[in-house]
């Protein structure tokens, strides 16, 4: 049995770990709140944007835009969106697994794959494994629309120049604090917009005057649509990361508590054993004296 002193030291160490994990939990909680707020603030913009885009798409009869061009997918690019920091449970691991599986499948089909990493964790993992063409790391702690724009700038011109044929975005969809779902979305060619189920009711639709013409306007809005999609993914990643870290740190804290209580029990037992041994010694000593 470990000595009393050893156990005491161990309890102290676990206690310190617990303090750290609890602090991290609280930090993650406050970051999560601000990430959630950001998501909420973004909602009116995204909602309004989709309304306008849909009603515009319905009016333009034949949509022809380089971003909508469907080509035989030979070259594929993938954006993998992970977090910059670890200690957030399976958040990144699950996402990397999904990405790897996706890449393997496409690889089997004989496609040429290039990866764009957002977030340090994905970069670290894929750095030597696959063809990485671009990366953005250490950006997620504080970001705004310009980050989404810079990511979009990375991918839009190359697609228009037909340097590749399909673009996928893999990110963690935020379901709730403890659930993040790795999701694969095709960005390019853009899935058709203005599909019947997203339709605005005809009588609700306003007949606008478009300036410049509706077609030109649509061409301007499509790149912005990409920004909106990327930005939303970034927001969900940031909220999901902090949510996952919150849950992970909460777990760690309660594990520490469990460990402390079992160690304390051990410690008490050891102390009791020491006292009993001492008592036995005394009793034995007295008896020996009495006999003598």
């Amino acid at each position: 049995m470990a000595s009393l002193k050893d156990i005491k030291r161990k309890v102290g160490a676990v206690q310190k770990t617990k303090q750290i994990t609890r602090a991290m939990n609280m930090v993650a909680a406050s970051k999560f709140k601000s990430a959630q707020l950001k998501m909420e603030n973004f909602r009116p913009y995204a909602g309004k944007f989709m309304d306008v885009l849909n009603s515009l798409a319905l009016r333009v009869e034949k949509m022809s835009h380089p971003l909508l061009a469907v080509r035989d997918p030979k070259k594929i690019r993938v954006i993998c969106m992970t977090s910059d920091r670890g200690l957030c449970g399976g958040f990144n691991t699950n996402l990397i697994k999904t990405t790897e599986k996706f890449i393997r499948e496409k690889d089997k089909e004989g496609k040429e794959i290039a990866l764009i990493n957002v977030g340090r964790k994905g970069r670290d993992y894929f750095r030597k494994k696959v063809n990485v063409i671009a990366q953005k790391t250490d950006v997620l702690s504080k970001f705004d629309m310009t980050l989404a724009v810079s990511i979009a700038d990375e991918v839009i011109p190359a697609f228009m120049k037909e340097e590749y044929d399909e673009l996928y975005l893999i990110y963690n969809q935020f379901v709730n604090v403890s659930v993040q779902k790795p999701t694969v979305v095709r960005l390019f060619p853009l899935p058709s917009i203005g599909s019947p189920d997203t339709d605005v009711e005809p009588d609700k639709r306003l007949d606008y005057v478009y300036e410049p013409s509706d077609e030109i306007l649509l061409h301007k809005l499509l790149p912005m649509y990409v920004h909106v999609l990327v930005f939303r993914a970034l927001l969900e990643t940031s909220a999901g990361e902090n949510g996952a870290r919150m849950a992970a740190m909460d777990n760690a804290t309660s594990n520490c508590e469990e460990l402390i209580s079992s160690l304390t029990l051990k410690m008490n037992k050891a102390r009791q054993a020491a006292i009993t041994a001492e008592l036995m010694d005394i009793v034995g000593g007295t008896e020996a004296l009495a006999k003598g």
Partner: protein, 138 residues
Amino acid sequence: MAEEITLEVVTPEKMVFSGKVDEVTLPGTEGEFGVLRGHEPFLTSVDIGELYFLTGGKKYYYAVNTGYAEVTGSKVTVLIETAERADAIDKDRAIKAKETATASLAQLNKEHEDYEKMRLALVRAINRISVADKLTQG
């Protein structure tokens, strides 16, 4: 007093302004335009420039980035990537941004892929400086 029109300025980060104004002027891509209540419904794209509106006898200026505006008879919704109120603009930073953009533009070839990016950065910086100046002029 003229009838008021509801104005909403929305960026991805937040609702920048929401309220009733007498008149609003926007930097459309086809030229600056003003909107009063009862305007014909229309939709247009917005360029880098200044947005200003009149309310309570005062003029408020904002420096805006690209986006678009939706106008109905009683409401104007402006969706833009950034919007800064004149008094919130960091003019020193804008001047610095202008200098860096000018310097790197001088080095870059027109064909270079960063040229357009830098040019836009310069336009934005100039716009922010001019809007910030509007404030000091009253």
